[in-house]
């Protein structure tokens, strides 16, 4: 979406592809926070 409207997003964002927002469980979220992520945005 950001690409099609040619928007820019900060370099500090890390995009991870998931097949469906339902695939994102608490373990993945906790792991990302444990690795130092400040926030997690699940975009469906």
């Amino acid at each position: 979406m950001a690409g099609t409207i040619r928007a820019q997003y900060p370099t500090t964002i890390r995009a991870i592809l998931v097949p469906c927002a339902g695939r994102v469980g608490s373990e993945l979220i906790m792991r990302a926070i444990g690795q130092g992520a400040d926030g997690i945005l699940i975009v469906g």
Binding site: V18, P19, C20, G22, R23, E27, L28, R31
Partner: protein, 441 residues
């Protein structure tokens, strides 16, 4: 409808209800209950001798209850099949019809029949229902009717044989007010019903051409006449002298003596409050998903949109398929649309369904859930979570994934506490590696 019924490759089942659907594309098994008609379809000749002797009159639902029909009667003149039916709610079991029938096709002891069969693909076309207005005194004031009731009144085979008469005294209404967007475009039903603007124009134009001395006012929020030749049609109706007032009717009250209705509305175009006395008020009420939409969505496990209409795979790129492979939708069960759009979608759905049927095979992606029995703690959370009902348990208690119904969303993998069910190519250890690497830098 008649052509479809006569096609040797099409079997129609009337008065039937789908009870259960199992399986997947190419192998759906369907269980249908055929409700009793109390008349044998293959024997009835449609002579109508039974209606002549039937002593019971009941409201005619096809005429929006504006006329009466016999308890045993044909649903409407063009009904397919053209076979009589008996309404048990009103029947007094006098058996006069049974005695009158020469071919002995009436049987009051008929029971519901369960039919099971196999199909390859399914198309849902359950249509829409009209919202019964609570606004503007509908049901309380005699001369407030819906568009569908007006359609029946001006139909040549309708209750008044096409003569425009108002319900209270049977006189011809001269001043007619149409109110658009009744029960739609509000908080409860936020959608536009799509067809009412054109329906108001069509019916007002029909009345005006039949009775040129009629005064017709259409009160609207927006006139939405998008589509081929629709805007021109709107212009022609304005040229014909139909008055369109931008402003919604605030109050409607009845004059108890004349049964006329006095509408108060604010005209946005000219400013100020208008009072208009109408002989007949026609409400364009909202379209709603048809009564059985919830049930059929649950039986077929098809998703619904927030509005209650059935949800398509993608609203613009794939408005025909559903998320269940092999099940297609068309017409107003998917969303509000006019006849042209319905025909387009119906043809599209028939074509889309015929592609896998002709090919005889169907290719699935490899992104599917995979169960690992050694790690499984048998909590069965995955079964509860799966939106496609693709996970089940076999006799030995092992988790089995139906690879055709599974759509590879990975919700089972997200809820599994012991990594016993995983999604191919999107496994936990792969995600862990991605997350760890991304945050290393």
């Amino acid at each position: 409808m008649l052509a479809a019924n006569r096609n040797p490759n099409i079997t129609t089942m009337t008065m039937a209800e789908v009870l259960e659907v199992d399986g997947y594309i190419g192998n759906f098994s369907v269980k249908v209950r055929k409700n009793p008609r109390y008349v044998y379809e293959d024997i009835c000749t449609g002579c109508g001798a039974c209606s002549d002797v039937c002593p019971i009159y009941m409201p005619n639902y096809f005429d929006e209850n504006l006329s009466a029909r016999k308890c045993i009667d044909v649903a409407f003149a063009q009904a397919v099949p053209a076979v009589w039916d008996l309404q048990t709610d009103w029947c007094v079991e006098c058996y006069a019809c049974v005695d009158s029938c020469d071919v002995h096709c009436i049987d009051l002891s008929q029971e519901p029949e369960i039919v099971e069969f196999e199909v390859g693909t399914i198309i849902i076309a359950t249509g829409w229902d009209i919202y019964e207005p609570e606004e503007y005194g509908y049901g309380k004031y005699d001369n407030v009717i819906t568009q569908i009731q007006l359609e029946r009144i001006i139909a040549p085979n309708g209750p008044t044989l096409g003569h425009l008469k108002r319900p209270s005294d049977g006189k011809r209404p001269k001043n007619i007010l149409f109110i658009n967007c009744v029960g739609s475009r509000n908080e409860e039903h936020p959608w536009c019903s799509n067809v009412c603007c054109l329906l108001s124009i069509k019916n007002s134009k029909l009345i005006k051409s039949e009775y040129p001395d009629s005064n017709i006012v259409v009160s609207y929020i927006d006139m939405r006449c998008a589509g081929k030749a629709y805007e021109e049609y709107y212009k022609r109706s304005r040229d014909a002298g139909i008055m369109f007032i931008n402003g919604k009717v605030g109050t409607l009250r009845e004059n108890p003596e004349t049964k006329n209705l006095i509408a108060t509305m604010e005209s946005i175009g000219t400013g100020g409050i208008i009072e208009y006395e109408a002989d007949l008020v026609v409400l364009s009420s909202a379209s709603l998903p048809s009564a059985g939409t919830n049930e059929i969505a649950n039986i077929l496990k098809v998703e619904k949109s927030p509005s209650g209409f059935l949800k398509e795979f993608h609203s613009r790129l794939d408005p025909i398929e559903t998320k269940i492979t092999g099940i297609y939708i068309c017409g107003s069960c998917q969303g509000q649309k006019d006849i042209g759009a319905t025909v387009n979608q119906a043809r599209g759905a028939a074509q889309a369904a015929s592609i896998p049927m002709t090919a005889g095979e169907y290719t699935i992606e490899l992104i599917r859930a995979q169960a690992n029995d050694e790690r499984c703690a048998k909590c069965y959370k995955c079964i509860e979570t799966c939106p496609y009902s693709a996970i089940s348990v076999d006799e030995a208690g092992k988790i089995v994934v139906d690879l055709i119904n599974c759509k590879g969303c990975g919700m089972c993998a997200a809820v599994c506490p012991s990594i016993a069910i995983e999604l191919r190519y999107y496994r936990d250890y792969q995600y862990n590696a991605i997350i760890d690497t991304l945050f290393e830098a």
